[in-house]
Symmetry: D2
Subunit: 335 residues, 4 copies
């Protein structure tokens, strides 16, 4: 039974806590740290975890803890990764690693120096549907990929307070799509980004965008697009399409049931799509943590490591540069 | 935390054990009994359950046990229900209650006399898709039901050794469909059954059938059919359709992913449907046990009780009579 | 250019007239006869047909006419078939041939004696979707058929005045489904019919039924069901399913567009299914007449002949007998 | 009965000829002209058209001809439009009007001066599915549009000889998508184009591209993409998605049947999508010509006029400029 310390008891920290404590068989959380001690205590109490603290050092210095889950705010990730690595703890860290490439590189170096495991939390890579899409590519079922489309729309924007500290749409939301693009088609060489503030003027006033189309050129010659919106009223919209010389692979959204109603008014689904990431990726959150636990316990290499955490940050930076300069930007321009 | 004893460590006993021990939050199994002591011990060991026995009385006499799950062979159900009731244990029992109406009535009486909870394991009633179908009827979304169709096909027949003790297709497999028919449209008044042995001659040699169509007349004036086959090569086929004066409600099968592949050969799903009941009803097995635990802990009436366990047995008997006499049979002819 | 005479300018006569005059390349209608001369004249005028009459003999005696389309009321079919055959005209006749087997046999004999072509109008056999279902069976894509389901529901009942002369649901509506059952799985040996009057009490008062479930046993050992309703509020519902030892084949209803709308209320089709037979079978009406024209012009045997017109009448009779005697009825009981 | 002259008996000329002669009720073609007289004669003979010529002036000088269909090679369109207008003939002209804006403007002026009708052949605007998409926008079913995606892929590239004179992918193929973008979301202000030669090196050697992604900025603030490939092995891929603040509307491809096959290998469609434009847009070709005939006969304004023919040419030019200069290009830069 792997003993984990959880650093960060906010929204995503709670997701990981619930996942570990109710569904991951071979691991348990033994301590929760949060800057707001009450948050740590409350979450620990809910899942019968005996230790809670406001100081993440309590976890790092606890010899009982084998590995940490870093789910604190993004600006603390690099620091906590470095400290955790130095404390010899294996690390599972939320995305993005950081908003600053130099700090990301420091963190990756610290991990390498310490020889600990380091997995970045891109849970979509563990989703059965996206794994099947990947498999279709790897198996040659669609041949050589020519075109990729990712549609990724949230059901509703986060609070403006969150928007302000999120790092912006590309770092907060599109980062998952940049990762998916790399997961499916490999390295990106150039981007061109367009954006708008169409969902809520308050998002624009907070300095962010809420709607975007990004085009991608891949090293292998393929091209692609990412479509983002902060507000799809019908629910979480998570689709990809890969088109190649032997065919294409697509996916549909997921629903809580498979019912269809036929009436004099309409032929309609029994329900709207699963509303958001908690429902849509419930199993993926479990599988990514089980994979991490398996890597730690059985000393295997992680499948989503530091380089995979760094690359989408570079793409996000190139996209912001593209927006600012209104032109396509090569990733090689980002340093 | 409700303490459960599990009686029966066979196929379905293992399903309930895994469900309770890994997904039901407010209950745990403290003892496992099986006629084959090794089966009990092995299952107990796998889930870290401290007590295992070949004698179910050990469970009934254990004052630590609040309630029992009866998952032993059908011929023992009535006896174990009676003993459990007399021991004051709340009871969750696998279907069918028994092949004999008098014994079922004895069991129901024992439960009533003891005032314990008694839930029969028709897990499909707890499946999100079938609940949505039920809701469509209850909400009036399809108006007054006129017609019902149930398609219920297994991916492959069980071993002939199992066929021989199963009670036959109608008691073993169709019993779930009889329950679904009642769940959705209420009481059945008359049946007409047709059957055949088309899947495997060995099933016929064992005295059973493997393919059937049953027509139903309901007390409310609606009519319906059930379609059964022991072997759908594409996987577990679980569909219903309810047609009423304001519309119809249908469901589709469930798949491990939502992928579609488009090639020069075909446009096809990424995978076959979920293969069998363990995958298809994984969540329903959890929800039915959570409902039982909730009823016991919070002293609520169960939603699937003794009368619901008895009624489909009567329908099965009427179907066998119909097969034998090659005519429609009223349920009132069965006593 | 084959010259046709149309006998009967009612609902289905108009359909055939429009089909021939606007879409069948190698045939034209040169004369229209209807008991109500005004109907004949009006239809002829609409399509620029030079001759219209109240007397079908005018058509039969017209040496310019190569073949006739009989679309008059069912009680006149046999007589008109016999007269047409004796006049040496090839014959395309609406279903059913007659309500009386002896008259059907007389008509078939007259056709054989005259050596003319005789095609019965079961247009569903020429529909691309049902042809693909048939092909799946013929190709072995589903293996040996075990089970068949036909769902066949009209969007709304015809006027009560029509109901009264229609011959009843089984002769008027289910006759197409009996034909489809034979088309797909071959000869029927036994039927069991259940019916109800659930759509409109006036239909019951007119002596007819509006809702039915019929079970079928086929000569090849397969079993099946037919589901009929006179009123599906969402539109014309035309589905079949054939299940065999290597798989199953199903079809979906057809829509005027392929649009899906996703909103905060629902995920729904852009439109309801095609409303009724004119829309749903527009192409099939063309193909069946083109096939007839091809058989006449190129002296080929018709694919849907007298025996195919007779057989579903026998099934309908067996179904009425089953309803009356509340028991399964073998077709061999009908003479 | 409107009398039409057809100028151009090549691929698309044959489509229009077949459409008029077999499906458009109120018009007929009385003369066919083609530079290759044999082509004109052969097509005329096939449809029983009495006059064929190698000189389009024979049509323009024929007082019997009410209107012309211009389906000759693109480099002749402007000249033939001007001559037809001067001859007082109403004009239905294939896309694109021309590769040169000045000539397009001359043609539009000639039409205006002569006061004849002038319809450009963008048949997709008359397709039931795309009309339903448009209606969803116009009705407010998706609210204010934010995002548009058009996927438009041919099943196979045309011959290299055709590629060489086609004007290139954007003028030959994407022109329809540019028109669809305008039809659905209004005027385009800026484009950014990416392209590749992935399908066949011979296309690149002929100076053309075969794969492209174009991003669009609309005057109303919305953004969009167009995805093109010359080779989708599964068939003609014609999809759009419009996403707005109240929902989204999508469409699926069309198939020759609605069949699904479920086997031990896969769950698949009975057939591949309709293979190409002749099958996919058969009805749309009819509807656009019926609309033109209606405008001429009843003196109504055409729905797709000169300005609609000019605009997508400007977009195509902007796309080529974008490709060349590797940057986003405003339409205002094209003159």
């Amino acid at each position: 039974m792997l003993k984990l310390g959880l650093i960060g008891a906010g929204r995503i920290g709670k997701v990981h806590c619930d996942t570990v404590m109710t569904r991951v068989q071979d691991a348990t959380i033994v301590s929760v740290a949060d800057y707001y001690e009450e948050s740590a205590k409350s979450l620990a109490a809910q899942y019968g975890i005996s230790h809670a603290t406001s100081n993440h050092r309590d976890i790092l210095e606890n010899s009982d803890v084998d590995a940490v889950i870093i789910a604190s705010s993004t600006d603390t990730h690099s620091q906590f990764i470095i400290e955790s690595a130095q404390a010899g703890k294996d690390i599972f860290c939320e995305k993005p690693i950081d908003f600053n490439l130099a700090r990301i590189d420091e963190a990756i170096k610290a991990v390498a120096d310490a020889g600990v495991k380091f997995q970045v939390a891109f849970q979509r890579r563990f989703d059965a549907t996206f794994l099947r899409v990947k498999q279709a590519i790897d198996n040659g079922e669609v041949g050589t990929p020519h075109l990729l489309h990712i549609i990724s729309r949230d059901p509703a924007p986060p609070p403006i307070t969150y928007i302000k500290v999120s790092g912006g749409l590309f770092f907060d939301m599109t980062i998952h799509d940049f990762d998916m693009a790399r997961f499916l088609l490999g390295e990106v060489e150039e981007v061109y980004a367009m954006s708008a503030n169409l969902v809520d003027p308050a998002i624009g006033e907070a300095g962010d965008i809420d709607t975007a189309i990004i085009t991608l050129k891949f090293a292998n010659g393929a091209m692609g697009t990412i479509d983002n919106s902060r507000k799809a009223v019908y629910g979480y919209d998570q689709r990809v399409e890969v088109f190649g010389d032997k065919g294409s692979v697509t996916n549909a959204n997921q629903y809580p049931d498979t019912v269809t109603l036929n009436t004099g008014d309409s032929v309609r689904r029994g329900s709207l799509p699963l509303n958001f990431f908690l429902e849509r990726y419930a199993a993926a959150y479990q599988f990514e943590l089980e994979a991490f636990v398996d890597c730690v316990v059985n000393d295997k290499p992680v499948s989503v490591g530091g380089a995979d955490g760094r690359a989408p940050v570079v793409i996000a930076m190139a996209c912001y540069k593209s927006l600012k300069e209104k032109r396509p930007v090569k990733l090689s321009e980002i340093s």
